[in-house]
């Protein structure tokens, strides 16, 4: 019989233009390829996450995909109560014999776009705009800065966060304002990791004739000619693969950290940014990419020591 599958988004919702959306695209692709459908739910608070997961588990789901680190504790708890149900946690690590935790090496992808960014920059001043000041966002920023500085010693990185409440993910005006202010300080390439607020950043970059870097999904097409590249986080693949493994009976519990090598993160090069990426940049980025995959270049993960070397 077909496996019974479910996916639970976090507070951002499945249309967040960010990781939830990416996950839903993966699930949709699975459905298209296999004709196996799945249930969808959204949990707006930590209490609800538990409620949803438990509700789904009671329906004897085979696999529940939980999107976002906010569900970590809920998954851990419910997985213990329902040993027969299997869980995939995206972006967080939960213990349990029936849990597969998938995290991403955001620092590696960010490193790549940092390299591309600094090469495309004339002023060698790069901008970074995060949503809230939390370790995950700092990991992006830290990888980005490492890439930039390793490529050009003169590189400077300006960082700003949008805010401190969840409103910070939905404040495009502030996202745009931060970009403007960075541009006025000489920045000409800006990397936005701020959910909906990042849309404001990309938009402003386009308006001011500067370059921007998208995040999570491939955002190159939003403003062709202005979005230099995107740091894609293949949550869609992670979800798709998990569902597929479930169908094929190859699913395994454990902890997976997906980097460049595992196809978890990458930079995006397509027809929308083809003109912006000079052969020189492309060559350099591809070289660095290979070095990271080969282990010749080590990118430091902010989260391991809660500090950034650059």
């Amino acid at each position: 019989a077909d496996p019974k599958l479910a996916i639970v988004y976090d507070a951002g919702g499945k249309f967040d233009k960010s990781f939830n959306q990416s996950a839903s695209e993966g699930a949709a692709r699975f459905k298209k390829d296999t004709n196996i459908s799945f249930l969808e739910a959204q949990a707006s608070s930590d209490t609800q996450a538990e409620q949803v997961l438990r509700g789904l588990a009671r329906k004897n789901m085979d696999l529940i995909a939980s999107i976002g680190f906010a569900q970590t504790q809920a998954v851990q708890k419910v997985a213990k109560e329902f040993p027969k149900v299997r869980f995939v946690l995206i972006d967080g690590v939960a213990q349990g014999a029936n849990v597969n935790s998938i995290t991403f090496k955001e620092e590696e992808g960010s490193y790549l776009v940092g390299v591309a960014g600094v090469m495309a920059s004339k002023s060698k001043k790069l901008g970074f705009i995060g949503g809230i000041d939390i370790p995950l966002i700092r990991t992006f920023a830290c990888g980005y800065a490492q890439g930039a500085k390793a490529t050009d010693k003169k590189a400077e990185v300006f960082q700003n966060m949008v805010g401190t409440t969840s409103a910070a993910w939905n404040d495009p005006a502030k996202g745009g304002e931060l970009a403007r202010s960075q541009f006025e300080r000489g920045v000409d390439v800006v990397f936005a990791v701020a959910g909906g607020s990042g849309m404001g950043t990309l938009q402003t970059a386009k308006e001011k004739g500067k370059l921007s870097i998208g995040v999570d999904s491939n955002q190159n097409s939003l403003y062709p000619g202005s979005v230099l590249t995107s740091m894609v986080k293949r949550i869609d693949n992670a979800v798709y693969d998990s569902f597929m493994q479930m169908k094929n009976g190859t699913w395994k519990a454990g902890v997976l950290a997906k980097g460049l090598k595992e196809g978890g993160v990458d930079w995006a090069l397509d027809e929308h940014n083809r003109k912006l990426i000079t052969p020189e940049i492309e060559k350099k980025v591809l070289g660095v990419r290979k070095d990271i995959i080969d282990g010749k270049v080590k990118v430091i993960d902010y989260r391991t020591g809660n500090s950034c070397p650059v």
């Binding site: 919702g13 499945k14 249309f15 967040d16 233009k17 959306q21 809230i132 000041d133 300006f158 960082q159 700003n160 966060m161 805010g163 401190t164 409103a167 939905n170 404040d171 495009p172 005006a173 502030k174 745009g176 304002e177 931060l178 403007r180 202010s181 006025e184 300080r185 909906g196 849309m199 404001g200 938009q203 939003l222």
Partner: protein
């Protein structure tokens, strides 16, 4: 340190861009509250007009239709608020909060229904309001300081920015030098006196609410079709409450309220500049603490000024003819 290092220029330009959202809303609140109606529903009106102006601008590909539609919706909400507060004599705070909550939900639901993008409208693209380039900008842009002043600080903004700044003297004039303003203030201070003088308190308050609706809509339109270029759920992000604060800060007077708005805009801009910078003495302040700079400053200023703010006396009290 040079002018450039301090980024004062950038801070000032940023202040000018940040302020209109607050100025429009605060001036709207000023009209409502000087007439005696508490307007804690600014937030909801901003949000509704932001959504409708973005949606209509997108659908018609004409920003001005968007602005007009935003005005219509915000006025409708203000009228509803007026009906509840003035005619029904209901609790004005409840009415305002109800509108805020309802709009937070409804804008999402409608946006989702029409655009299926998670409560977002599509990008407006060409249907945005673009910045005005003042005549002669190209010639003067490279002149030191003057070029910056003319093309960046004074020029290079959207029409709505100029409207916001022009509004302040206008509001002052209306409030203090017209018949309507006189009656409005009388209704907010002592509606019984206004009534005894033959002024219709209810009608005056309705007029004030209508004006509040119109002004507030510009705040939403500015947010959606000038600053962002699309609508996003809850994108007002507390602007209505901040505007209200600026108004209390300004003691319900247009000019001081305007300074309050500028202050919020200014500290917002300063906060951007000092994030991640090594400051003398304190060193590098974590981003999350820098975020609270404008708020802490407001508290200190209010406490330090001993600003015993004098609200309009009759504010929040429905007008009932009796002793």
């Amino acid at each position: 340190m040079t002018f450039e290092d301090l980024h004062i220029g950038s801070i000032l330009v940023s202040t000018v861009r940040n302020a209109p959202v607050l100025i429009f809303a605060a001036m709207a609140g000023l009209f409502a509250e000087r007439s005696g109606v508490i307007d804690i529903g600014l937030e909801g009106k901003i949000l509704a007009s932001a959504f409708v102006s973005a949606a209509v601008a997108f659908a018609t590909q004409n920003p001005w239709y968007g602005v007009a539609a935003g005005v219509a919706v915000s006025v409708a909400l203000a009228t509803l608020q007026g009906y509840v507060s003035i005619t029904q004599k209901g609790n004005q705070l409840v009415a305002g909060i109800a509108i805020n909550i309802a709009m937070s939900g409804l804008t999402f639901v409608v946006a989702q229904f029409f655009f299926q993008q998670g409560g977002r409208t599509p990008d407006l693209g060409q249907a945005r309001l673009f910045d005005v380039v003042l005549p002669g900008s190209a010639a003067i842009v490279d002149v030191p300081f003057v070029g910056w002043l003319y093309t960046k600080l004074i020029g290079g903004h959207s029409v709505l920015v100029y409207l916001a700044f022009a509004l302040v003297p206008l509001v002052h004039w209306v409030l203090y030098h017209t018949r309507f303003g006189l009656r409005l203030r009388a209704c907010g201070e002592n509606p019984h006196a206004a009534d005894a003088a033959g002024v219709s308190v209810e009608w005056t308050r309705y007029k004030a609410m209508l004006i509040a609706g119109v002004l507030c809509s510009f705040s939403g339109a500015y947010l959606a079709i000038v600053q962002s270029g699309f609508f996003l759920r809850d994108m007002s992000a507390g602007a209505g409450y901040l505007a209200l604060t600026a108004m209390v800060f300004g003691n319900w007077r247009p000019l001081y309220t305007f300074f309050g708005c500028l202050m919020f805009g200014f500290f917002g801009a300063v906060q951007i500049q000092i994030e991640g910078v090594d400051l003398p003495v304190v060193g590098r302040i974590p981003g999350s603490l820098i975020q609270m700079v404008p708020y802490v400053v407001t508290v200190i200023v209010l406490a330090g000024l001993m600003a015993k703010s004098v609200a309009p006396k009759a504010i929040g009290v429905p007008f009932v003819k009796s002793r």
